[in-house]
């Protein structure tokens, strides 16, 4: 019985330290008014989801770097989904800001933070790597110069595991 309890405690511990979240499909509008689902935009092997807001300076620094990363790995089945988390107060500023930054990727608007809350995103920017089974396999919060290297290493590691 003691061994049984030991195993149960061990597994509860595993539960609380695991990364087991799975993404549920969603429909969101992009800044041009087109509607996309996660299934429409996900990468064949790996999907990068970047949550950001117009008032978040580190987010704006990270966005062009992530776009470069996505272009580098798009032939390996990697796609980037940029999800904006601005609420009603600042949503009007998102489209001109994105265009002025020269961002070419599709930018979805999660004005009610539905997807953000569904994935337990606490702070911005938050970057998630989603595998081809829809499982969140990596989570990165915040951005400082050089973080894109950490993210790239994770992408390479996951792609390496797939191959």
């Amino acid at each position: 019985m003691i061994r049984f309890l030991y195993v149960a405690v061990f597994l509860i511990g595993t539960c609380t330290t695991g990364h087991s979240q799975k993404i549920r499909d969603f429909l969101l509008d992009d800044i041009a008014g087109q509607t996309y689902s996660f299934a429409d935009l996900k990468g064949e092997h790996l999907t990068i989801i970047d949550f950001w807001a117009s008032w978040c300076k580190p987010c704006l620094k990270a966005m062009p770097k992530l776009e470069i990363l996505q272009k580098k790995y798009e032939d390996n089945g990697v796609n980037l989904i940029s999800i904006n988390a601005d609420g009603p107060r600042s949503i009007a500023k998102v489209a001109p800001l994105v265009r002025s930054l020269g961002i070419k990727n599709i930018v979805l608007k999660d004005i009610n933070n539905e997807v953000m809350n569904d994935l337990n995103v606490f702070q911005l920017p938050t970057l998630l790597l989603i595998d081809n089974k829809g499982q969140v396999v990596f989570r990165h919060e915040g951005y400082t110069e050089g973080d894109e290297k950490v993210i790239e290493m994770q992408i390479m590691k996951i792609l390496g595991e797939i191959e």
Partner: protein, 480 residues
């Protein structure tokens, strides 16, 4: 026994894979510096557990607050619900979030990590507004329809107060959108019922792109069961966006009249820039949807990959028999000194007739320097503000230094100085130190010690009051 352990392992991994959740635990020992009270211990906890099975997600969450004062203490089942979601359908039962017409008719929100403490109740609770009821939505790429019913949370009241006070507004709403040729038409209606009134509001909006670089959004909302013109309520909001190469412009306007719905379940767009700089965030204009008109213009210009300029103009006029004007000009320039050092500087000029603040000038900078290839980092922020109020010149200064080691350890020192006569007869200083440690990607820990200056704060478009605090505060948050 071996068979039992084997099945436990298999089943537990199966179960583990479907559980997710968050917890927030905060311990405080301290007091309000200006109140006649002794320091006391307080513990707030918010565990939320989700169970997912395919497209179904069940949520249960508690809020617990314990202090030496029985009247303030509570254990509350704050979240209980089931949500089914696929590409077409979304069905929610129990607690859910919903926002209608950009917040003009209804605004739910959750300010991550923010706790509210009201001066009258003094019990801490999470800062969110949700609906307790049911919602059904159907969505295709060209149209959507959703219907909801429930009771909206009035977060002024902490969970220690009766449920009927916390959810006094019963709502029923229907909302649809139709899309065609890059234009979207939306129509919504809401019924609000409480002990004082039964009101019906309707709204319609049109949005889309005129040209690839020019888009718009207009919304008109009205109270439908108005008897006299004096009690008529309406909200008009619109924006126009333009972009060309590295230039982006947005223009917004608003006209709100008697548009506080129920106990305040809506949050129309404020059209006031939400600043991250402390002196500006604290002295922001708070929207009054009872009688407010105004405009906001904002421009972005990305001069190079690392250099950008942001300019903003805000005007808000409140007319409650007497007119009060709020006007603000803001400019921010961000660039780099070198590959290791970047900075932002800002300058802001404002006049706030409601607060009787004239010639309010604020300025400051944030500089960030990376040492040892991003292993260590130092950030220095300094803000200054001065304005005239009844012939008295108020000054505020804020200074903060943050040291970062690797990606997970942050240590910051905050200093504030003020001669604001609403706070002190002479001058006053605040000192605080915060240590943040991200243990791993699922656990983070922070400890604050010192004195924190309160006042208005705005986060994610929602403004609220933060109380002063002197003492220590320890926070642990987890996600799994």
């Amino acid at each position: 026994m071996k068979v039992l352990i084997f099945f436990t392992v298999i089943l537990s991994f199966q179960v583990c894979a479907q559980f997710s959740g968050t917890t927030l635990l905060e311990y405080q020992y301290g007091r309000l510096p200006n109140a006649n009270e002794a320091a006391f211990h307080g513990v707030y906890s918010k565990p939320i557990l989700n169970y997912s099975w395919n497209n179904l997600k069940a949520t249960v969450g508690l809020q617990i607050y314990q202090s030496p004062f029985n009247k303030r203490n509570y254990t509350d089942l704050s979240w209980l619900g089931v949500n089914y979601k696929n590409k077409k359908w979304e069905i929610s039962l129990g607690n859910f979030n919903s926002t209608l017409e950009r917040g003009v008719l209804l605004r739910s929100y959750e300010i991550q990590g923010a706790l509210l403490e009201d001066l009258s109740f003094r019990g801490k609770h999470y800062f969110y507004r949700d609906v307790l009821g049911a919602k059904v939505g159907f969505r295709r790429k060209s149209f959507s329809v959703s219907a909801l019913w429930g009771h909206v949370l009035n977060n002024v009241f902490p969970p220690s107060q009766p449920k009927k006070d916390r959810r006094s507004d019963e709502i029923a709403a229907l909302s649809t959108t139709f899309k065609s040729f890059q234009q979207t038409l939306g129509v919504s209606g809401i019924r609000i019922k409480n002990i004082l009134e039964e009101s019906y509001y309707g709204s319609s909006n049109l949005s889309g792109s005129i040209l690839p670089y020019l888009s718009y959004y207009v919304l008109v909302a009205k109270k439908l069961n108005t008897i006299t013109t004096e009690s008529s309520s309406q909200a008009i909001y619109g924006n126009l966006n333009f972009s060309f190469n590295s230039l982006g412009l947005s223009a917004e306007w608003k006209d709100y009249k008697n548009f506080v719905l129920g106990s305040g379940i809506n949050e129309p767009p404020a059209l006031v820039k939400e600043h991250t700089y402390r002196v500006l965030n604290r002295s922001t204009h708070v929207l009054n949807p009872s009688n407010e008109k105004g405009v906001q213009f904002e421009g972005y210009f990305n001069l190079t990959d690392n250099t950008s300029l942001t300019l903003n103009y805000t005007q808000a006029i409140n007319d409650s028999g007497k007119k009060f004007r709020y006007e603000e000009w803001f400019g921010e320039y961000s660039s780099i000194f070198s590959e290791q050092t970047d900075y932002r500087i800002f300058l802001d000029y404002a006049t706030d007739e409601l607060k009787n603040q004239r010639n309010r000038i604020s300025s400051g900078f944030v500089a960030n320097h990376r040492i040892n290839s991003s292993i260590q980092n130092i950030t220095i922020e300094f803000n200054t503000q001065s304005y005239k109020q009844d012939q008295f010149k108020t000054k505020n200064y804020v200074g903060e230094i943050t040291l970062r080691y690797k990606k997970n350890l942050f240590l910051s020192f905050l200093y504030e100085w003020s001669n604001d006569r609403f706070l002190t007869n002479d001058t006053r200083t605040w000192y605080g130190t915060t240590l943040n440690y991200k243990i791993n990607s699922t656990n983070s820990f922070s400890i604050f010690g010192g004195e924190r200056r309160g006042g208005p704060a705005c986060n994610a478009g929602v403004c609220y009051e933060i109380l002063d605090f002197k003492g220590i505060e320890i926070r642990w948050s987890t996600r799994f």
